[in-house]
Each structure stands twice: as C-alpha cells, then as structure tokens.
C-alpha cells in the first residue's frame, strides 16, 4: 500500500513517527502551515516556521525516504491577532518555493471579519501564484462555516477543482461534493472522522475528489490512520486499486496542479551522506 498523507503536521512529530510511517507505506506528505498550540506573537515567528517547513523538515523526512511538501499561509486562528497580521506580507515570498504546493491552511476558525479578510486575500494569492488552496473548516459551527467557505471560494474566482475543503464529516460532505471542490477528511482517534465512518462516506459519495489525511499534530492523533483507513476499505470490499486511488493517486492529482510536486524517489543517501545526525543519534 503506497500512501500520500495530504495533511500532516510533521513539525510536531518524532522520528519514531517517521519510521513507523515509512514502514506503513507512507512515501509522501504535505505539511500545511497552521498554528502550533502556543500562540505566536510576531511575524518573525512565522518566518522561522515557514523556513522550517521548506528547510529542516523536508531534510528530516528525507532521512526516512519520505518526500515532504508544504502549504504556506497565515492560518485563520492567528489571522485574528494584530501582532501576527504582518505574517501575511511574508506569505507571497514563500509561495515561490519549490516544495510549496498550495496556499493553506486558510479559511475560518471563529468566522470573524479578520478571518474573512485573510481568507479572501490568500485565495487571491493562490490564483496569482497558480497554486491550489487548502481550506480548513471550523470545528465549531462547522456546517455554517462550510457554507460560508464555499460562498467565499465561489466569489473568489478560483476554480473549485483547485480547492480542497478539509476536515469534513457526514453532515458537511454533501455541499462540498456538489460545489466541485475536493473533499478532505481527517481521520482521528476519537474526534473528526474514524476509518469505519470514512468507508461509509466513500460508499455513499464515491472516490472522486476524495482526500484522506491523518492531520496528525501536537494533539492526540495518529499518523498511521491513513493506513488503517486503507485496511478498513479492503475489509469492506473495496479493491487494491480503489485504495491506491484514494491514498495515492488522488492527492497526486490534486497537488500535482501546482506543477511542483516532486516524487522522485526520496533516496536517503542522496541528501544525508550515508546517514545523518538524526539517524546516528544526534550531534
């Protein structure tokens, strides 16, 4: 089973996770820029974070044969903090980087006026930089948030096929399906979505434009739930080709629209001179 996790926050994960992911078949990931649990208080913090997403983290992933890409944006939650708004000015520069395959995560957290502004500005950046957009949907008041998200996307002029609306569930999938946008599902240990519920959604809505991610981060989450979902699909009667489509070909098709997806075998030796400080136990 080859797996492309289209949404995972590796910055918050350990090398044990990278090892287990590689063993489970994960060969490529996209790490969206998001908040870090601890609020940031200056644009400089974002610059260092963005640097890490296009510098250190891809290097770390490569040690385990995993190809790492990123999406860059000022996230909705921190768009509300005036101290962080200057980070918006940094975003265009990072959208030019080779491994940046979308603008994201953008969208709504609490659906404020500040979030509206940041969302609209960054959808425009996606169009200007010819990149897809990864849109987060709120955990509170989600159904209304998704409707408002789809209205803003339609208004922006970006093609719906270049947008993924993420963290969907049984209640919100239908509207996004009808919009022509891609549908993202975060499989979590308790909340959001489980492998068995995901299988039911695939039965009902089909495999087209479906993206399955672990969204693993600094909270209780599991980077192997993509694999568990593939296994649940097989147990429910889906074929190997169906699993490959959802867990590999779909994310390749979606992020491939950036023209920047590079899935050249991430050969460990290529970047690490026969092993790095990470594999050797640190310097």
């Amino acid at each position: 089973m080859r797996i492309f996790d289209p949404h995972i926050h590796m910055t918050s994960r350990t090398t044990d996770d990278y090892e287990r992911m590689a063993a489970a078949g994960v060969r490529a990931v996209v790490e969206p820029a998001f908040w870090l649990g601890q609020p940031r208080t200056s644009a400089g913090s974002f610059a260092d974070y963005f640097d890490s997403l296009v510098g250190w983290e891809p290097f770390r992933a490569a040690q385990f044969g995993i190809r790492h890409h990123a999406t860059i944006a000022l996230n909705p939650k921190e768009a509300n903090d005036p101290r962080c708004r200057e980070a918006l000015d940094l975003v265009p520069r990072y959208l030019d980087k080779d491994s940046v395959v979308a603008v994201g995560e953008i969208g709504y957290d609490a659906m404020t006026r500040e979030e509206d502004e940041a969302f609209v500005v960054q959808l425009k950046l996606a169009v200007e930089h010819e990149l897809p957009a990864l849109v987060h949907t709120p955990h509170r008041d989600k159904a209304r948030g998704v409707r408002r998200t789809l209205a803003v996307v339609a208004e922006s002029g970006i093609a719906p096929g270049r947008v993924v609306v993420d963290h969907l569930n049984e209640v919100t999938v239908g509207a996004v399906h009808d919009s022509g946008c891609w549908m993202g599902f975060s499989i979590y240990p308790d909340t959001k979505m489980s492998p068995s519920r995901m299988v039911e959604i695939l039965r009902t809505h089909g495999l087209e434009r479906m993206l399955i991610n672990s969204a693993a981060d600094w909270g209780r989450s599991d980077p192997l739930l993509t694999r568990r979902t593939g296994e649940a699909m097989l147990a429910a009667g889906f074929g190997d080709d169906d699993v490959d489509r959802v867990l590999w070909r779909n994310p390749v098709e979606f992020f491939g629209q950036s023209g920047r997806l590079d899935l050249t075998e991430a050969a460990t030796g290529e970047v690490s001179f026969q092993g790095s400080s990470i594999l050797r136990g640190g310097s």
Partner: protein, 196 residues
C-alpha cells in the same frame, strides 16, 4: 569553478532561454532576483550537472543570477536570499560565495550554515570560501563533519589547514567513541597523525 563553465553546462538545459532572460533582467532590475532565484530549479533542473562535479542545475543558474547583480547590491541580496531561502537556495548561495566579489563579508552565512544540522549546508560551508572562517570555527566545523558522518572530502584544503589542535580534538572524539564501542570513520584517521 568559474562562471563560464557553469554557463556552458546549462546551454543544453530546457532553462537556457529563461536563464539568459533572467540574467539580463537582474542586471536591469536587481529586486527581480528574489522570485527568479526561487524559481531557478523549476526551469534549469535540480539534477547534478554531468560535466561540473559537485554542482546541480539550480545551483549553477542561481550562481549566474547572483553574478548578474550590480556589485554594490551584492552583499545585501546574498544575505537576504540566504535568510529567506529554502534549503536548496541556501545551498546555492553557499556554493556561489567563492565566485562573488565580496571579500570576507559573507562569513556570517558560514557560521549560520555550520550551526544547522543539515549535512548539505554544513558540507557546503567548508568549500573554498571557508578560508574566511577563523581557525577555531573551522576546526569545530571539520569535527562536526566527522561527528555527522559527512565525508571529509568536502573540506577544501583540509591537509594544509589541519593543525595540532584539530588532531587533539579528533583524538578526544576517538576516545569517546572507543569508550562507547564505536569507531571513527576511516577518513578521519589521517587527522590524528599530527597528534603526538
């Protein structure tokens, strides 16, 4: 390495026309280098150049873009492009340093690079421009290569610059390794020879 060799090596690249236009544009409009520098790999490729050992297409293109900057702007732009560069851009800046008329001004970039844990950046910091690293920093960087398993062939002028102090530091690392049942990489053993 010289700019002519790098330019010739890119003549057959699909990015040849893009590079010619880019070099011209940077000369006329220096700020345009920011976006061109980031995009170089997508036009000129990131594979190793067959006739230029140690250089890739994007590194060669980026070096030629830097050489197109007006000399007065060079210091400012290399600092900025390194600071906001992804790993590939940082690497390209480091590799280009010996070709640029900047004296010792870019030495702080080497200090930054050898502080990282990215083996590619540490290795690139120890090229010919490392003559501008003071001896203490240079020794630490060489020893870090041994520690990280970076082949010492990346260190420019190693034999000429290695001194007794580096030999003593290497011997101490050897003792620690042996206490732990580990060995030094074979290419580090010659560093011990100056130690008595």
């Amino acid at each position: 390495m010289d700019p002519g060799t790098l330019r010739t090596a890119l003549k057959d690249s699909p990015g040849d026309g893009w590079l010619t236009a880019g070099v011209e544009r940077v000369g006329d409009d220096p700020p345009s280098i920011t976006r061109l520098f980031a995009a170089a790999g997508r036009h000129c490729g990131r594979a190793a150049l067959p006739h230029v050992p140690g250089w890739t297409g994007d590194q060669a293109a980026r070096a030629l873009l830097l050489l197109a900057l007006p000399a007065a702007d060079l210091r400012r732009y290399i600092g900025d492009l390194y600071r906001h560069g992804d790993a590939g851009e940082k690497l390209a800046v480091l590799k280009a340093l010996p070709l640029l008329p900047i004296g010792a001004d870019a030495a702080p970039l080497l200090h930054d690079a050898v502080r990282t844990n990215d083996t590619r950046l540490v290795a690139a910091a120890l090229g010919p421009y490392a003559r501008h690293l003071d001896q203490a920093a240079w020794r630490q960087a060489v020893l870090k290569c041994v520690f990280m398993g970076i082949p010492l062939s990346v260190v420019h002028g190693l034999t000429e610059r290695a001194d007794d102090e580096l030999a003593a530091m290497t011997a101490a690392l050897r003792d620690e390794r042996e206490a732990a049942g580990r060995r030094l990489p074979p290419d580090a053993l010659p560093l011990l020879r100056q130690s008595t």
